[in-house]
Symmetry: C2
Subunit: 312 residues, 2 copies
């Protein structure tokens, strides 16, 4: 593939930025990839593993001459970073971000940027439960969605170029209005994460009663919750702070629905439960048909390390 941008800079060097760096290199999409992270330790790690072509000690230095600036910091830090880099941006450059919430990023970043740069907010729907500069890999975006929320009047040439880069990393693109993005993500990601965190917290209280049994017997369903509850705490704090309206809306619907099922259990209403569980099964089928998960039993998990049995 051919070079799309001569110089790309990644601000924040975690899972997403690291994966972008690896993917841009693997597919030859950028002439030079520069990087900056606030933490000296992260910068050192990025240097050690050769994540980028250059790692800089200040954001201002890093963005100098860049054609594409990618903000990959927690959502609450986006505004401050934008203010820092704004005076140093090359005219005609494109600024994008990878934040999980879009309305608040538009509000916090937009006002800082000069009118001669193109701001095209984005959100790759890709990730794992790991985080930090060592967690990235080139194939993270393969066949995943990358949502863009270009404001009205966005320069079409700048937009087409950013799309070329994203497609070059293997992702599919869809445009969305920021408010709609935040609602869809509240359903598909934010509330599921909050619920998983909650369930793990409940189990943690009970662990004090039942010792390590909750861990030991986690394969029965609980471990699927712990995976998503292992995600980066700062990122997720910010998601809920910055997308509180849609999250609270969906949470309200969730508790309503949960109370209906809870009542069916209390009243012994088997047919109602059976009807509900049959319906949800069909949704799983749709996801597999849409190519967004594997049909292999148990996600095709391979056998795990044997543990000592207490049963001698």
């Amino acid at each position: 593939m051919s070079v799309i941008y001569d110089r790309v800079v990644l601000i924040g060097l975690g899972l997403i930025a690291g994966s972008m760096a690896h993917a841009m290199r693997a597919f030859g999409l950028a002439g030079h990839v520069a990087g900056y992270a606030r933490s000296a330790e992260t910068r050192d790690t990025a240097r050690r593993i050769g994540m980028c072509d250059s790692i800089h000690d200040s954001a201002a230095e890093a963005v100098a001459g860049a054609d594409l600036i990618v903000l990959a910091v927690p959502v609450s830090a986006m505004g401050e970073v934008a203010a820092q880099i704004a005076p140093h941006l090359k005219p005609g450059a494109t600024v994008t971000d990878v934040g999980s919430v879009k309305q608040s990023v538009v509000q916090s970043v937009g006002p800082h940027l000069p009118p001669n740069v193109h701001f095209i907010p984005g959100h790759p729907l890709a990730g794992t439960e790991h985080s930090g500069p060592l967690s990235g890999f080139a194939s993270l975006f393969q066949n995943r969605w990358w949502l863009l929320t270009p404001p009205e009047g966005t320069d079409q040439q700048a937009l087409a170029r950013l799309r070329d880069l994203i497609r070059g990393m293997g992702a599919n693109i869809e445009d969305m209005e920021p408010g709609h993005h935040d609602l869809v993500l509240a359903v598909t990601s934010h509330v599921p994460h909050l619920i998983a965190y909650t369930m793990v917290g409940v189990a943690d209280h009970l662990r004090r009663v039942t010792e390590s049994e909750v861990i030991q017997y986690s394969a029965a369903g609980f471990r699927d919750f712990t995976r998503i509850a292992a995600s980066d705490p700062i990122m997720w704090r910010d998601v809920f702070m910055e997308n509180s309206e849609a999250t609270l809306d969906i949470l309200g619907r969730f508790t309503e629905e949960l109370f209906v099922l809870q009542r069916a259990i209390r009243m012994g209403d088997g047919p109602q439960l059976h009807e509900y569980f049959t319906r949800t099964r069909a949704i799983r089928r749709s996801i597999i048909e849409a190519g967004q998960d594997t049909d292999a039993p148990d996600f095709g998990r391979s056998a795990v390390q044997p543990v000592a049995t207490p049963d001698g």
Copy 2:
């Protein structure tokens, strides 16, 4: 390995029974495996794939001469099956079950069985989101837990023999009191499943608003919920009907905890959310250390089938 039982009969031919049949054959643990299922279609399928050495058209016929009888039907059907087979059991035989709830099985099965057979209830913590006679495989129990709830005074020789069979299929064994089993499973399995069903149901309502977006963007967390919400509806209806007390107890704790987090979101209490999410992360680590899941990012899911991009 050597033959543990000359004749084993499986009553109910779904995921667990099918996996037991495959495992007993693979490891040479049974002289003859007989099978029975209420549905003629299931019996035909089991015959076609050669799941067992013999498939019988009645439970009474199937259990004749068996040294081990495994009840692998939905929990609500256990009592009826026990009543059917009781007059035909060989003196000295062992009866076990694989139900996900133990107190209610003990109450519904126990009274039907004659005093000259050994009843040792059990529960393998193993499964996938698939069900039915085609879903079983020999390695399902490898390094998984198989809980037994032997009543006081259980014949030690009968117990040792059943343990040999279970270990022969690759599982680890732990004994537990039935009530404690039901509480631990409510936390690690039953309530997580109910929550997953609920979240999928909420998304289903919203799907009517947002078309297929919920499916399309499910990789962001939601798909992990749909997997467990795709499990067998009858089995899960029964679990909640038969383990309602512990389920309602844990559900109460869950909603309390959820309301605390919901309030933190509404009040903008970032530190509280951050502290909570940091704590839950540690629990994930414990599960990996206990060998109950893989540390591979995203469970080591392999890349899925490409889908057509709407972005041409």
